[in-house]
Symmetry: C2
Subunit: 320 residues, 2 copies
């Protein structure tokens, strides 16, 4: 089953989200408008809005209230992608040129700032102080994760714990917050908030690990950007850490630096793919997914729970 | 009288603000901590916190409540400076190397993101939805101003209106918001909010115009960075726009581009200083200042009003 089919009952609400996204970034500033719209129209899975809406179904669901949270979270995610592309010097995302590639780093930095500012403005529509506290704490963690990503580049002495903390901040916490905020803003019973948070957290960890695996195993067509980009940019991900447990691979991987040639890196990528690193990474991803399913069991039955279950399964098996 | 002497009755409260600033940026991430602290310790006039506190004196002043607004606004200002220095490729600020100079552009971008995130987290201590709306609208305008500054670089066909709108977004609105938010968060009578907003707005306009003049007339020692930096970076400010009304100067200024030599630009700066552009710029700054004084008249008498009056006078005459 395709991802979008799993939540087709949300279609009309997701259309409202899509319209609101476009409306929110509207500005009379042509350059800003063009850059933001370029990003928006590159698409994406809109996982965060979907999770907000599904979590909202455990409370008093009102699309005209919950949409603000859903749109704000997607915009925060988008803003962080724009800044990430500056750091990673990325040329392509989702098969389209990045803002930094189409314009330049300065425009990308300020477009990120602008989209982020817009998301905050939208969040003021939510008159719930708990929601604001959750979101702002998440954003602080997200920005710490960004700095960690720079610090840990080309650092071959980082351990698994450092990697897991980084992807927690980079990805898992925002997905966890999406679930939690959906429940909070729909006034769902408070014992549900925590389960939804942990469900989102575990799914997010699994999601990012799969992302890091696909960077090795996916094709350029599937990924919408060149494969092997992480290693190329010095991002040490789970498959690399596992591969480094092998003495010979460890020696090879440590030779990679900013001046490595494409051929050198491709050779190492091929070796990693031949090792057990990919399989072991999938196993860890699955372990997080199982934890997610366990959290889900604590939630009341219904279409939202079933859909969360299907989406989580899909994320564990996805190929793009 | 020195600026700080004018509000010595706020000394102990400003010390609380200073401590809170340092505490807020605390993090276990060494790099982030070092970069943020570097910025904090470079000092600054702390005009925004001072204005918040003074505005708060028109309501139920409680330093332990209002400090959150004061610190958040200073942090937002600091975050925007860090991103500005990336765009302007600035090496020095307040006599110290900028973050982008001491580390690099990537660290500067993320340090700005982090400081900004921290300010949002702090703002959640303020349980007043109006305050959040004012602040987020201001931040959106600020980020539009940032993009405008890039767009308008080396654009010699911009008019006075474009310049004024840019400095409004870049500077005046955040100072206006400082005054307004101080009043709002201290529950001052609502008719006072608007007057304080406009007072801050006019002072902010005058402040930025003076800043743009000083970039021509100040010494490197006074400015804490090389004089003439604006023209060097393609920032077309008020003295330049006035100077361009002269046919000969207009022709000369238009020759400036990213490849101009230091000698060429210095020659043009000297010509601008000899023209009436500086004097006319001071006149416009004074006109804004007079508008600020008129707004002040509408406010109830007391030490806060007297201090605002003195600070505004100082800003109009400042040499650094």
């Amino acid at each position: 089953m395709k991802l979008k089919m799993m939540y087709s009952f949300l279609n009309s609400d997701l259309q409202i989200i899509e319209n609101e996204l476009e409306e929110t970034i509207q500005t009379e500033r042509a350059l800003l408008q063009e850059a933001s719209l370029h990003l928006l129209q590159a698409g994406g899975k809109r996982i965060r809005p979907v999770f907000v809406l599904l979590a909202g179904k455990f409370g008093q669901y009102d699309i005209h209230k919950i949409k603000y949270v859903a749109v704000a979270l997607e915009l925060i995610h988008m803003a962080s992608l724009v800044h990430d592309d500056v750091i990673d010097d990325a040329e392509l995302r989702r098969g389209k040129p990045t803002i930094k590639a189409k314009w330049d780093n300065r425009i990308a930095m300020y477009t990120g700032d602008y989209i982020f500012a817009r998301s905050l403005e939208l969040m003021t529509m939510v008159e719930n102080i708990e929601a604001h506290q959750i979101l702002s704490n998440t954003i602080v963690e997200l920005s710490k994760g960004e700095i960690e990503q720079i610090r840990d580049k080309y650092n071959y002495d980082q351990n698994l714990r450092v990697y897991l903390r980084r992807i927690k901040r980079k990805t898992a916490l925002l997905i966890a917050a999406s679930c939690q905020l959906g429940a909070v803003s729909a006034n769902a019973p408070s014992q549900i908030h925590k389960s939804l948070f942990w469900f989102g957290y575990y799914v997010g960890m699994s999601f990012q690990i799969t992302d890091d695996i696909l960077d090795f195993t996916g094709t350029e067509e599937q990924l919408g950007k060149p494969a092997g980009g992480d290693l190329w940019q010095g991002n040490i991900t789970l498959p690399v850490l596992y591969a480094m447990e092998d003495f010979e691979l460890n020696r090879k991987i440590r030779t990679i630096n900013e001046n490595s040639t494409k051929e050198e890196i491709q050779g190492i990528i091929d070796s990693i793919k031949k090792s057990d690193a990919i399989e072991r990474s999938f196993q860890l991803s699955d372990r997080y997914l199982n934890k997610a399913f366990k959290e889900l069991e604590k939630l009341p039955n219904g279409i939202a729970k079933r859909t969360f279950n299907n989406v989580a399964k899909f994320i564990g098996k996805r190929k793009y």
